[in-house]
Symmetry: C2
Subunit: 482 residues, 2 copies
């Protein structure tokens, strides 16, 4: 039950200092991989943080982060004053091999990741009704090889919905149905690459996944600073980018809304430089204090590619989203789908068309807004009571808040302590691009956990933050780890 | 009603002699585009074949082919001894703009395209039952962000099914769920491109769409000749290709089955040259005279990437297929999906898992085999009665036969005459890669048309062939066109 101590050289851990992936993530990934592939057996001891750090030539903080994450995921048992132990739960199964997106990702005691929807709210009964309608009414041609832009009936419903609810200037002809908004972005990026583009600008910070996928698509993501009014267009103007991804209605992860002036400035930049704005409206349906601001696409449909999905509003597993495109891009983006025979499934498209047509979508959103608003209020109240010294930022919308902390070190320490406690928060640092110099802190999602769990989690999190913040400027080792 | 004659210079037709697309196809596409975009109004006269051929500097046959195709599609009214007239039916709608896959493609009086399934056979009731089961039993995580390889429950059912029905050596861990078999091929090709591969070999002839998509993915498709036993492995050995797409159980479009010796020779090539065989088992479930031969993947699971789908057996609109992969490729292929957040929809996966588990899939295939076998018998009998001089080739399987004709010219003339009559056949030439020197003729599908329509179509087709074959070695202009 207590095998010989783990020898690091057996593991063939190879950290790449040139890679963009932080060393702690690399180490974490390689250790997880070794555990899942059975190279590290259950009960196996890992070296102490000090010993592994020495052998790898990295700081102890790097090892500490990796251990804390794996502990939170349940792959390691962390023991006060002793080496961590590998913990293999059941038959791991290669379903969770590293390198492959593993469904819901790491498991946490409380899932506080930002922008995670409450999957239990998916309206199964109503969706079945729409699927039945789809099966009852689909023509034979509609279950055949369909238009790569998506079924016309869905594009028409989405056009009507977006014009009404988000103020878009849109007809069905401008819409390409995709497998989600991120998928839509990647398709647009592939077209940009074919056009010879090499750089794409992002708000700094913005969602890390989008940066990673942009690189994979062949574009270099460039971070443009933001202030309280939105992206700094002057910085964009000075950059080499001829395309920018922005979320004016609700910036992720800071949670601000662009001022009207900044929106106009951004549109002027696009006009004057003949550039493209990709408007990521990933959750603009969710504003709790007032009506959300309209999409900027409505002011400049030939300058803006608008992307959205039902991943946050219905369920990610349905894999349906859309791009609303300038005329010049419609065929090219549809061609990217066509080029891989990657049309979206017909029955789901027909079901969504029915769901939107019967106004079930509106009804469902109204219901969800009530649920998330209440969770947000609870979370914000708890954080303000427990941690009055740290501001809670972000508009009353979406599914997370941004808790600002004094420094990078505080962010890192709070994150590590929270993760170690099984609290699945994220940090600004995870979503920052090179050159980031803005506020730091934690991103705390309230979408996935129900009210009572959320309150418990918020109290635990406040404790973890109190324990770890303001204790100096350097990331502080968690002393009870060996 | 009879506007001034059409002036060709107004149309901005630009033919590219360097392009791989045949001139007739280019002309046809540009004319269709002009009609659909409203640049050519209804009732507008087109120039005579002779005049347009002169102005474009092409042979009259090129114009003739283009006109015949557009006539068959209903975009032109072809008139004996007079110029064709543009015919705009209803509001065309930008749904059918060129460059975008237009659903079921061109409309024919009889759809005799090869490998088109009978969409009316899609078992809607049973599928709804499986969808209801999916909605009743899906976990919240399953409708969340799922494993990019597909849901485990589906991969397990597909693994069991393929092992049983097709003799594969497979576990769920080796399967990646895709949006169809062509989608699976493109994902594999993207991995090959990332590995630095530049050439992919195909049987010559093989499906044209696969060649086009390979080029788009960044690979040069290379045609390898076939004989009655299958692909000529010696030719493959002499080529630069380190990957080949082959369909040993049922070659498309010739319709042969590889001999056991040739299968082994192909596997030896893969072993000796460390190369990859992509086994396209697009319709191997459909063999009517005996059990289909097993997949060669079963003999060499580390050398063969097996691809398949339910497009022919259930419906293309479901967009579900699979790749069964060597261990070394699983993560890379899943990574291609992951890299575009392009996971396949969860409920459809769960529904298919249920459909296979309840043996509805087997039952449905058995029923379909009965239907297609009868249609094949009818078609073959009619063709043999009416055209005893031309051999009908291909095993008793799939959804088309190959009617061999004496020469390239005969093939071209018969194709044009058939298309002009609204008979949607295809020809060997459409699917040939450079250097093809094998048999010529028409590909006649019997999947999409019901029995009585099929018999009528076969009689009409026989007439068209009798009128157009054996009248000389050059493609013969259709004299009643102006």
């Amino acid at each position: 039950v207590s095998p010989r101590p783990f020898q690091v050289r057996e593991l063939l851990i190879a950290l790449n200092r040139q890679a963009r992936t932080p060393l702690a993530h690399q180490l974490e990934n390689q250790l997880r991989d070794a555990i899942l592939r059975g190279r590290l057996a259950s009960g196996q001891q890992l070296p102490s943080t000090r010993m592994l750090a020495e052998q790898l030539g990295v700081s102890r903080g790097v090892v500490l982060r990796a251990y804390a994450q794996l502990g939170a995921e349940g792959h390691l048992t962390l023991r006060q004053g002793a080496n961590p132990l590998v913990r293999v739960v059941g038959v791991p199964g290669p379903d969770i091999l590293s390198g492959v997106h593993d469904g819901d990702g790491p498991r946490f005691r409380y899932d506080l990741r930002p922008e995670r929807p409450d999957l239990s709210q998916f309206p199964r009964g109503q969706w079945l009704r729409s699927l039945r309608h789809a099966l009852d009414t689909a023509t034979d041609a509609e279950v055949g090889y369909i238009d790569s832009r998506g079924l016309r009936s869905l594009r028409e419903e989405i056009a009507r919905y977006l014009a009404r609810a988000r103020g878009l200037a849109v007809t069905a002809n401008r819409i390409v149905i995709t497998g989600g908004s991120t998928h839509a972005l990647v398709l647009i990026e592939r077209v940009l690459v074919r056009q010879g583009k090499r750089v794409i600008a992002f708000e700094n910070p913005s969602h890390e996944l989008l940066h990673t996928l942009s690189r994979r698509a062949g574009l270099e993501p460039l971070g443009i600073p933001i202030d309280d009014d939105g992206l700094l267009v002057d910085e964009l103007r000075r950059s080499a980018a001829s395309a920018v991804v922005a979320a004016p209605a609700h910036q992720f992860p800071i949670g601000l809304t662009y001022s009207k002036e900044r929106q106009l400035e951004l549109l002027r930049w696009a006009d004057e430089t003949d550039s493209l704005i990709v408007e990521d409206d990933f959750n603009a349906g969710f504003r709790y204090d007032r009506a959300p601001i309209g999409a900027i696409q409505g002011s400049a449909p030939e300058r803006v590619a608008y992307i959205g999905s039902i991943s946050k509003t219905l369920a990610p597993g349905l894999r349906l989203g859309w791009a609303v495109l300038p005329a010049s891009l419609v065929d090219d983006v549809a061609g990217e789908l066509e080029g891989a025979m990657q049309h979206l499934p017909a029955l789901e498209q027909l079901a969504l068309a029915d769901f939107v047509r019967r106004a079930e979508f509106d009804r469902h959103l109204r219901r969800l807004r009530g649920i998330y608003r209440k969770r947000r209020d609870l979370l914000v109240r708890t954080l303000r009571n427990e941690l009055p010294q740290y501001p809670v930022r972000g508009i009353a919308g979406g599914m997370h808040v941004f808790l600002e902390l004094p420094s990078v070190a505080d962010e890192a320490n709070a994150w590590a302590r929270a993760r170690q406690a099984g609290l699945g928060v994220e940090s600004i640092g995870e979503h920052a691009l090179a050159g980031y110099g803005g506020p730091r802190g934690l991103l705390i999602g309230y979408g996935a956990e129900h009210e009572r769990a959320l309150i418990r989690a918020a109290h635990e999190l406040a404790g973890a933050i109190r324990e770890s913040v303001g204790r100096g400027d350097k990331p502080r080792p968690l002393t009870h780890l060996a």
